[in-house]
Every structure is written in C-alpha cells, then in structure tokens.
C-alpha cells in the first residue's frame, strides 16, 4: 500500500535531519588538525582498529559520514522535486541503508566498549562525551529513525496522474 502524505512528510523530514546530523558530526571531527588528532585518539581508545590504520580511518570515517549525509539530503530533496526519477530513488535507498548500517556499527562498537568496562569517550560529536546510556539511547533513537527512513524508501510510490 502506498504511504499517505503524513507518512511521506515525516520520512522526508527525518531524511533531512539524519543527513544534517551526519554532516555535523563529520564536520566536528575534521574541522581543524586538533579535532582530527583528538578523533584519532578517541577512535584508538576502542582498541578495535590496529594502531597503524587508526590515523587513516580517523580521516576516512568522517569524510564518509559527510558524503553519506550530503547524499541523503540531496536524494531526499531530489525525490521531492522529481518523484519519478529512478536514479534519485536508487541513491535515496542506498544512502538510507548505509546510514542504518553505519549506526548499527557505531552502536555495536559503543556497546562492546561499555560491556568491556572501558571508560572512554564516544567520539560521536567531538571530544569530552563519555559513552553512557544517554549516548546509547540517542544513537538508538537515530537508528530507529534511520530504519524508518530506509523502510519508507523501499515502499511503492503513489501513482501520479
């Protein structure tokens, strides 16, 4: 069944919000050399990535976040303006799924650190934010929103006259 107008509006708003949050989170991490170095320290504290790759990943991850956020926003706006465009639909579906997947990875890493008894920073939106139930709930809410966004991106569209 095609989604109604309220449903589609909510999905569009969530896409723009998630895209904006991803771009903001990325900008905080790469805005200057000190922020980049601090993010590398936060990333290394998880002890998931081998030390020799930490600096590279600390640079690539925010860039990927930035691109993903931008693609999600552009696709969401594009689909609103040109509903029948197949390329935009593919881009919207792909970016929605990737946002979901990245949030699953982020929450998984935080849960693992918390369960391992590590008192470390989350690294989500810059330094000075330790992993806590608050950060888990916040990212969990974002994941719920992202799943909704991904699900609606795969629903059949209402036929236009």
């Amino acid at each position: 069944m095609p989604p109604n107008k309220t449903f589609r509006t909510l999905a569009s708003v969530l896409r723009l919000m998630l895209g904006g949050i991803f771009m903001f989170a990325a900008w905080i991490k790469i805005k200057d050399p000190m922020s980049r170095a601090l993010f590398a320290i936060d990333l290394d504290a998880y002890k998931i990535i081998p030390l020799r790759y930490v600096q590279t990943v600390a640079w690539m991850l925010p860039v990927a976040e930035m691109m993903l956020g931008a693609v999600l926003i552009l696709s969401a706006v594009g689909v609103l303006l040109r509903p029948g465009n197949r390329l935009l639909m593919v881009s919207l579906r792909l970016s929605s799924v990737l946002v979901c997947l990245s949030l699953v990875i982020f929450i998984g890493a935080m849960s693992w650190a918390k369960l391992s008894g590590k008192n470390i920073d989350c690294g989500c939106f810059g330094p000075g934010e330790p992993i806590s139930w608050k950060t888990m709930v916040r990212d969990g809410s974002m994941l719920a929103g992202a799943m909704f966004v991904a699900w609606t991106a795969f629903l059949p569209r209402r036929k236009t006259a």
Partner: protein
C-alpha cells in the same frame, strides 16, 4: 584562591572545563609559560600509572618538556578499594616531598617499587614511609614526616582529588591537555604517537 577555584568548579561543572587549577610548583615540570599544560591525574598504586611514569613520561620530557613546549603538572588522584589501601598515604608523602622540591625522586621510588607480586613491595606490606625515606637524606626525612602531618598537605591531596572528579576523571592515569584556553581529557590508554600528533597539531 585554590579553594575558590575548586568550589567554582564543583558548583559550575562547565567552568571546570575552562579553568586550570593553580598548580603546585613542586609537582610541576618545565616552563609555566609553555603553550601547552598537561595535568596528569594519577595514583601510585595504579599499574597503568606506573607504566605511564616509566615509559611515556620520559618521552614527553625529552620531546616536549625540555624543549619548553609543555608544562607538566602531576596531580594526585588516590584511588580507593582493596588494592589501593595505601594510595592516600603515598600521595600524602609525595605531596609533602613536593613542598621541599623532592616530588620527582619520591614519585620515582614509589612507582619503581610498586609490584603487587612481591611481598616486599610497599603496595603489599604497607611500608610506604620506608620506600619514601630511602631516597631522602636524614634532614629531608624529618621535614617530610612533619609536612605529611600538616593539615595543608592533607587538604592538598583531597583538593586535587576533587579537582579531578570535577574535571570528569574516572580512571587513572588521565591526562588533561590545556591548549588555547580549552581542556581536553585524554584517555590513559592513548598511544604516544597519537598523543604527539595532537600536541603537534596547529591550533
């Protein structure tokens, strides 16, 4: 002045992020005019602190402190619990030694003899004073023993602990890097190469 700083930091946690509590010069290394100040919150019974003191600290000394790039301030953060029953006593002696300019040799001795597997170690048998006294002259011993009973020294240890708690220290060692008016708590597990890239990064 120090008490006012702590009171403000406890009352307004956001201020704790901006203020550098006045350092005890006896516990500081390097030039106070260095562009970066690093506060090290540590405990003499903590094995990670021993590792930091014996490996990362000499490297920091060589690469940054001697060159006037970093001013390093040691802050005692005595832990509590079954393995830390002599933490506060060690911190008190070290703080007393700092008052006569002997913090570094006392800290070196306490960390060098921190071994939970040896019954002869002060962390096991509680002979903290014997470990401290070994690196002091007879005259210094008398002064340090007297200072260790001084309410000012006892209060200083407690104040540093409270400063750490106000800053958000929840494990030791924690480095708090002060750069450009901002304070950045750095995890104790930080690799030295990553710490260097942060210290070397332009503002």
């Amino acid at each position: 002045m120090k008490l006012l700083a702590v009171a403000l930091a406890v009352a307004f946690p956001c201020l704790a992020q901006m203020m550098i509590p006045e350092p005890d010069k006896g516990k500081a290394l390097g030039s106070p005019t260095a562009p970066i100040t690093i506060e090290v919150f540590s405990d003499f019974t903590c094995p990670h602190c021993k590792h930091f003191h014996e490996t990362e600290l000499p490297a920091l000394m060589r690469d940054y402190i001697v060159k006037g790039k970093v001013y390093l301030v040691s802050r005692d953060f005595p832990l509590t619990g079954p393995e830390h029953q002599y933490s506060r006593q060690a911190a008190t002696y070290a703080t007393a030694a700092a008052r006569i300019g002997k913090y570094e040799p006392v800290a070196d001795a306490l960390f060098a003899n921190q071994d939970f597997t040896k019954p002869t170690s002060w962390v096991v048998n509680g002979q903290v004073w014997e470990c401290v006294a070994a690196v002091l002259t007879p005259a210094e011993r008398t002064r340090v023993q007297a200072l260790a009973k001084d309410p000012g020294v006892v209060a200083e240890v407690e104040r540093e602990l409270q400063e750490g708690l106000a800053t958000g220290v929840n494990s030791t060692p924690t480095l708090v890097v002060n750069r450009g008016g901002k304070r950045f708590p750095i995890p104790s597990t930080v690799d030295y190469s990553l710490l260097r890239s942060f210290l070397d990064a332009p503002k």
